[in-house]
Every structure is written in C-alpha cells, then in structure tokens.
C-alpha cells in the first residue's frame, strides 16, 4: 500500500515536471538562463548503480552573455578542467555544445548529457544552481531533457533562418568580391593546370581554370588556379568531352569528336561578349578493352528464372560481334587513325565507336562464361551434382576497309570451362560429371569496303 502511494506521488511529481517542462519548451536557453547566474553549482553524477550521487565538491559555472544572448557556458569540471559550451543556434539555443556533449538548463538546474541520432539523451551530470532543487531519477531526466530539446528544435526555425541568412550574406559578400559581376573585365582565358600527355578515350582528366584580366591590369583566377572567381560566373559549352567545371574527360564515343579535338568553351555570365575557347588535339593512343562475355553459370539466375537443384547451371555464350575498321587522317595533325565500330549482333546494338592510332591496342573479349560447379549430391542419390556446361565464345567478324594498313586488335573469344562435378553424399558414391567446356568462337577477318559515318 505504501509502495502504491509512493508510486502515485512519483507519478504526480513527474507529471508536474513534464507539464512544467512542456510550458518551458516554448522558451530558448537564452530565456531560461535569465534565472541563472555564474557561480558554484551542486553536481549530481550518474553512479555505477544507475542512480544519481551527489559529488562532494561543487563545480564553478561561468555564464557569459552578450546582448541578451548567452554566448558561452564555461563548466569548470571539478573546479579544475575547463569545458566551454557554446550555443547550438545563436539567438534561440536548445543546448550548449562542447565536443559531442550537450548542456541544457531546465527549471533550476543544468543537464549535462550525451545525445544520439535517435533523439535520445543520456544524462551524465546534473548541475543544480544555488538554492535549486533536483530529485528526478535518470530515466525521468533523460525523457525531460529530450522532450525539451526536440520541442525547442521545432521552435528554432526563425533563428536558424537568421543564421542561414547571415551565412548566406557572408557568402554573397565573398562571392561578389571575387566575381566578375560589376567589374570592368578586359578578357577571359582558359588555362590548363598541366599539359595532358594523352588525349583519348579513357585518358586522364584535363584540368583547367579561368584567368580574367581586369581593365586595370590585375587578374582574377578560379579556385583551382589559386583564386576565388566562382565557377557560376561562367557558362560552359565544352565539346568532345564532359561539360563539367575544373576537369573534363574525353568522350568515350568518338562520334562526338568530329574534329578530333576536345573543345573547351566558356562565356562570362556577366559579360556575355567575353568568351574564351581552347582546342586540344586528341592523341588517340590509350588502349581500350571491350568485354561482351557470356555470363557465368552461377550468375544465370540474374538473367532468367532457374530451378536450382544439385546440378550446376550452364553458362551463357559470348556475344557475336562485328567490328568494322576504316582508316582516316586526324583532322588537325594528319596522323593516321583507325575508326572502329563494334556492333553486338546478339543484342542488336552498337557497343562502341572509337578512333585509335594503328598501334594502339584494342582488346575485345567475347568469351563464353564458365559453368557452375555441381553441388554435393542428395542422400537418395549415389552421385554428386553435374557441373554446368561452359558457354561458347562469341563469333567475331572483323571487316577491314582496304584503306586500313594496320591495326592492333586482339580478340579473346574462347569457350568457357565446364563446371566441376559435385561430390556424392556418401564417400562410397561417385562424383558428378564435369560440365562440357564451351566451343571457341569463330573469328574471321574480311576485307570489304566500310563507310563509318562518325
């Protein structure tokens, strides 16, 4: 009976605090801290038994205010360690932060707690002001401070907007100071950060920046050249490469490299008559590998619905390909190039358009997949599962235009290995049959007139 009365009393007290706290949830720490002063605070710490224990020595707390807002709460832990807590959102703080610890003041005490990603608080200490009172258990104070913090986060909208606006204002001032907007600009130029050794499909990025010369002779640069001109000051219209700031990469499809150059083009947003361009000749000398292999037996389920018993799945065949090659001259340097188109007849789609020098290796893989290994046999059977068959290599036809003097194309279209037979359930049984290897693909080179329109 006595216990019930105690529980009822505790519930009433908790309810009172929750109601009181809910009312205070409208208030920021700035308002609540009007009732607090710097001084020595009585400290309760969470003890080993999960209950709060009073710490023998009070901790000094220094509350610093600036224009009605609290700018810092310095907790001198045990009177010897300085822990400076700063407001989360100046103007309407829900807590003060020091590293990943938080401090929120409620009623007549401060709660020193950890906060996790699930919006839960774990109180480590409670700092009670002189004449203050504290008598909650850890669970109750955790709930109380979490309720306060989450409610206050919702009320921070305008303070957060102010912080955002201040940040935006600073950013805008910085942008304007470095932008070409409202500045007298004589010219803009594109400058490479280093001269690329190779300019070809799959070559490394070409990194560039912009230098603007003002009419007074001074220069401004983009960040990658050590300046601060925002990239938003320019419209990009690069061709034959990606159209991105800082760095571009040569297009993989040669049909967009019509003039055998990578063309960087920029226009000033604030001075549209100011334009700059830079053409970089392609070198077409990075080796390329194209794979149109058949799937492996253990990937068969990704391609079709299969029933998986103890036998391994059969692998897929390599795709059939037609490779057309035509000789051309580099439109700027006159160097010999081969235009190469790879058409996948199995999938009825063009796989690649490349331009490569005759010496640059092109490796085309159309191998059959490897059969899946058989599984261990069933108890009811004497043999293990059979291995799946390997896929056949794809048939590849190279059609070489009479204009082509040489090329460097390697075709890999071998049949895939058969999967290994699985072991039997009993040692006395026999191993399953190995799968048959796939047949090698057929490779043919024909000489015929080819007209590639890219």
């Amino acid at each position: 009976m006595e216990r019930k009365t105690t529980i009822a009393k505790a519930s009433v007290i908790l309810l009172f605090f929750l109601v009181f706290s809910a009312a205070r949830a409208q208030e920021s720490q700035n308002t609540i801290l009007n009732g607090f002063e710097s001084g020595n605070y009585t400290v309760y710490k969470l003890g080993e038994k999960g209950k709060f224990e009073k710490v023998g020595k009070p901790w000094p707390v220094v509350i610093t205010k600036q224009g009605g807002n609290v700018s810092e709460v310095l907790v001198k832990r045990s009177g010897i360690l300085d822990e400076p807590f700063t407001p989360d959102v100046p103007g309407y703080p829900a807590y003060f932060a020091f590293k990943d610890l938080r401090l929120s003041f409620l009623n007549d005490y401060g709660v020193y707690y950890e906060w996790n990603g699930k919006q839960e608080a774990t109180t480590k200490y409670v700092l009670v002001k002189e004449g203050g009172n504290f008598n909650l258990d850890p669970g109750a104070i955790n709930k109380l401070v979490a309720a306060y913090a989450t409610a206050t986060f919702k009320n921070q909208t305008s303070a957060r907007d102010n912080v955002k606006a201040e940040k935006a204002e600073l950013a805008e001032a910085e942008r304007k100071a470095n932008s070409l907007e409202e500045k007298a600009v004589a010219k803009i130029e594109i400058q490479l950060t280093s001269q690329p050794a190779k300019v070809a499909h799959f070559s490394e990025a070409i990194k560039y920046g912009v230098v603007a010369t003002l009419k007074d002779g001074s220069t401004l640069k983009t960040p990658n050249l050590g300046g601060k001109i925002p990239w938003e000051d320019f419209e990009l219209a690069h061709k034959g490469c990606s159209n991105t700031i800082d760095e571009v990469r040569v297009d993989v499809d040669a049909s967009s490299l019509t003039d055998d150059v990578v063309l960087l083009q920029i226009t000033s947003v604030y001075h549209p008559s100011l334009k700059a361009s830079l053409a970089i000749n392609t070198t077409n000398d990075v080796s390329v590998q194209v794979s149109q292999n058949g799937f492996w037996g253990n990937e068969r389920h990704q391609h079709m619905t299969v029933f998986q018993g103890v036998d391994g799945q059969h692998a897929g065949n390599g795709d059939d390909l037609v490779i057309k090659v035509q000789a051309v001259r580099h439109k700027k340097t006159g160097a010999s190039l081969n235009k190469i188109e790879i058409y996948n007849t199995t999938k009825a789609k063009t796989v690649a358009h490349y331009k490569l020098t005759p010496d640059t290796p092109l490796i085309v893989n159309a191998k059959g997949g490897q059969g899946m290994n058989g599984s261990k046999g069933r108890q009811s059977e004497t043999a293990g599962g059979n291995g799946g068959n390997g896929g056949s290599g794809g048939s590849v036809t190279i059609i070489k235009d009479p204009s082509v003097a040489s090329f460097n194309i390697t075709i890999n279209n071998q049949g895939g290995k058969g999967g290994n037979g699985g072991p039997p359930y009993y040692n006395t049984g026999i191993k399953g049959n190995d799968g048959n290897p796939g047949a090698d693909g057929y490779t043919d080179t024909k000489i015929a007139s080819v007209n590639l329109n890219f």
């Binding site: 010897i80 590293k99 921070q156 490394e204």
Partner: protein, 398 residues
C-alpha cells in the same frame, strides 16, 4: 586406460596451475587491479614513502594511493638502465628491488605535448594492455583499451577507459574521480589527435586522389575503383574517375573531406542530397516521409573519424543490385522531363547534419548523366516494367 586418463587430467591441472602462477606475477600487479574494486586481492599494503625522497626529471616518482582500494603503490621513473636510455616507469606494489611492471614512455607525446603516457602489454589481447597517463602533477589515471596488440601504445582512435586513479595525496581524490580523470584523458588525447589529423592530412595530400579532390566528390563506374582496405591510404587511381556516365548505369562515388566530420562538426552525421533538373532530394528528409524510405535510407554515422568514406556510396549499382533511394526518388520526380539523347548534370552534396538540419556541405561533385539512345540503355535500366529502378520504386510508393 584409466591410469592414462588420470595422468592426463593431473598433467592438465599442473599446466593450468603453472600458467596461472606464471601469470599471477603480473596479474597480481597492476593488471590484476583492473575491475577488481575494493577489497580485491592483488598485494599492496606496503609503504613506499621512501620514493617521495627521490627526484626525477619527469616529476613522477613517489608513493601513490589507489582510488579504488586506498592502498599504497610505488612509481619510479627510470631514465637510464645499464648505460642505455630507457625512459620507463617502474611500478611496485610489493616491497623489494624488483618492480612488478615496467612501462614504456611514449616519447614523442611527451616531447611535443608534455603528455606523460606509459604503456605495457602483458599479453596481446585488449585485456592485457595497461596504460598510465598523468592527468595532473601527482595524479595518474590507469587506462584499459579495446584494442589488441600494437607495436607501441594503442592508437589515438582507440577507446581509452579510465578504470582507476592514483594520487600522491589522497586529498586529490576530492576532485580527481574516475569521471574527471576520464575527461582529462579525453582532452589530452584530443590534443594529440588534433596534431595527428594535421599530420595525416599532410600525408594524404601526397596521394593523387585526395590531393586533387579534397572537398570534392570523385565518381567511378564501380565501387571497386574507389574502395580502400586501409584508412588514410587512398590509393585509388584518378585515371578511373569519370565525369560522364550513362543515366541508370552503375555510378559509385567517394567524398574527400578537409577534416574528419567528428573534428569539423562534432556530434553531426552525414546526409546526402541529389540535385538534377531543378529538383532536390535529401536522404534525411525522405527518411521521415514514408516507411519505405525509413527502412531503406539509414543514417550514415560511420566514417566520421576519417577523411573519406572507407566504402564508397553508389547512385545505382547494377552489379550488386543496390541503389540510393534518394537518387531513385530524384529520377522518379524527374521522369517526365527526361529525354532520349539529353545529358543532365547531377550534383551530389555530402552534408554535416545535426538536429534535423544540414549544417554545412563537406564535399560536393557534379557528374553528367546521358540518357542513352539504345532501348537496352537508360530506358531499360530505369523504366523496364519488371526490373527498371524507377519502376520498382513506383511499385512500392504509388
């Protein structure tokens, strides 16, 4: 047979007893005190007041009292031994000339930051590690860690837990309890970490990927091009980075941060936003909109202590059949605007996120995504009625 079994059992007991006896010399020393609490065994009870008459350059030597058991212990700093510089601390809990433990000083912590940290490995396991850190003149914290053997003290990123405090003057325990000592140790380790971060960054800048992309996001056509097995060694080749890809194909990406998030934004975790064609999707916002997103968009709270994601993120990964639902939602929103043959800029931003809001961007990057012409390309990848990424999302959302 019975005799054999009996002999084996006796031998086993003997081996066990011998091992315990051998270990007890150390276990009875400092390591044995870990978690022992008051009233536990472990020797002690002697007086080491004579140690207070000795002086050393470190100012460590003296008689100490344990917070947990109140017993007296002796610590002596030994700079030289047999003509060689050793810089060790000798720990005594029994009378005699031989210390029960000899702990090494981590010298550069002391020479650079005056942090006096001594360590000893009793065994290679985490429980066999003993560390003493001076938190105040005459006050030393005993620490255990969560790491197994390392050549030297455990790393700065290890969890160090103060388990006991020793003080020359028992009155120091009025202020130096375990929690306060823990706070001071965290501060000391924090100052060492700050310096280490700068050192790590200086080294990272030598890597082509980090040096060229700090503050940015690099993209590649598979996670294998961006994956690292080791922290602070971004050995990925920038030649494998891409700036353009087929829309709907696999695109992995990796951000490189100026500083680890726990240094630049303590208490925050990562959020990611995707922007394309004027639409923006936000992982943290989406998580709160439906159970589908709530289930499939988890918080990104790993990798806060390092300079990049150890395992890259993906927009879509067709090989592992995974995707970022926030990216898929962006495509779902934009699907009416997408046209065959067009190229779209996708901007990805990684944010420091706290208290329900993006605080600051910590890395961003843009990639161009092309809606390929072939029916087997973008259209199949995104809008195939069975396997298309957007179609799959529509089935659960619409």
């Amino acid at each position: 047979m019975k005799k054999l079994i009996l002999s084996m059992a006796l031998l086993g007991v003997f081996v066990l007893f011998s091992a315990q006896e051998a270990h007890s010399q150390l276990a009875g020393a400092l390591a044995g005190k870990v978690g022992k609490g008051k009233g536990g065994k472990g020797g002690g009870g002697g007086s080491f007041t004579a140690f207070n008459d000795e002086t050393d350059a470190m100012g460590v030597t003296g008689e100490y009292f344990g917070l947990s058991d109140g017993k007296a212990y002796g610590l002596r700093f030994v700079k030289e031994e047999g003509g060689k510089m050793v810089n060790k601390i000798h720990y005594f809990e029994k009378k005699g000339d031989e210390p029960q433990l000899k702990l090494d000083l981590k010298e550069n912590y002391y020479t650079k930051h005056q942090v006096k940290l001594f360590y000893f490995w009793i065994s290679a396991s985490a429980s066999g590690y003993v560390e003493l850190v001076e938190v105040d003149p005459g006050v030393i914290a005993q620490i255990k860690s969560d790491r197994s053997y390392n050549d030297g003290p455990v790393g700065l990123d290890a969890t160090r837990t103060v388990v006991d405090v020793y003080a020359k003057d028992k009155a120091s325990f009025d202020t130096w309890d375990v929690e306060t000592a823990q706070a001071k140790v965290d501060m000391l380790i924090g100052s060492l970490k700050a310096e280490e971060s700068e050192k790590i960054k200086k080294n990272l800048m030598k890597f082509e990927s980090y040096g060229g992309y700090v503050g940015k996001i690099a993209f590649a056509k598979g996670t294998n091009y961006l994956r690292n097995q080791r922290e602070n060694e971004p050995v990925e080749k920038v030649a494998n980075f891409i700036t353009k890809a087929e829309l709907g194909s696999t695109v992995a990406y990796k951000p490189y941060f100026e500083m680890p998030l726990e240094v630049s934004h303590p208490g925050a975790w990562f959020n990611i936003t995707y922007e394309m064609l004027g639409e923006t999707t936000d992982r943290e916002v989406l998580r709160k909109t439906s159970s589908v997103f709530s289930e499939n968009i988890p918080q990104i709270d790993k990798d806060k202590g390092i300079f990049y994601f150890l395992f890259p993120r993906v927009t879509v990964d067709n090989s592992s059949n995974s995707a970022d639902y926030a990216f898929l939602e962006l495509l779902r929103k934009n699907q009416e605007k997408l046209k065959v043959g067009d190229v779209y800029d996708l901007k990805v931003t990684i944010w420091a996120y706290k208290d329900g809001a993006n605080i600051d961007p910590v890395a961003s990057g843009t990639i161009q995504l092309e809606y390929t012409k072939e029916a087997t390309g973008t259209k199949k990848l995104l809008f195939d009625p069975v396997d298309g990424w957007v179609s799959k999302l529509e089935k659960v959302l619409d």
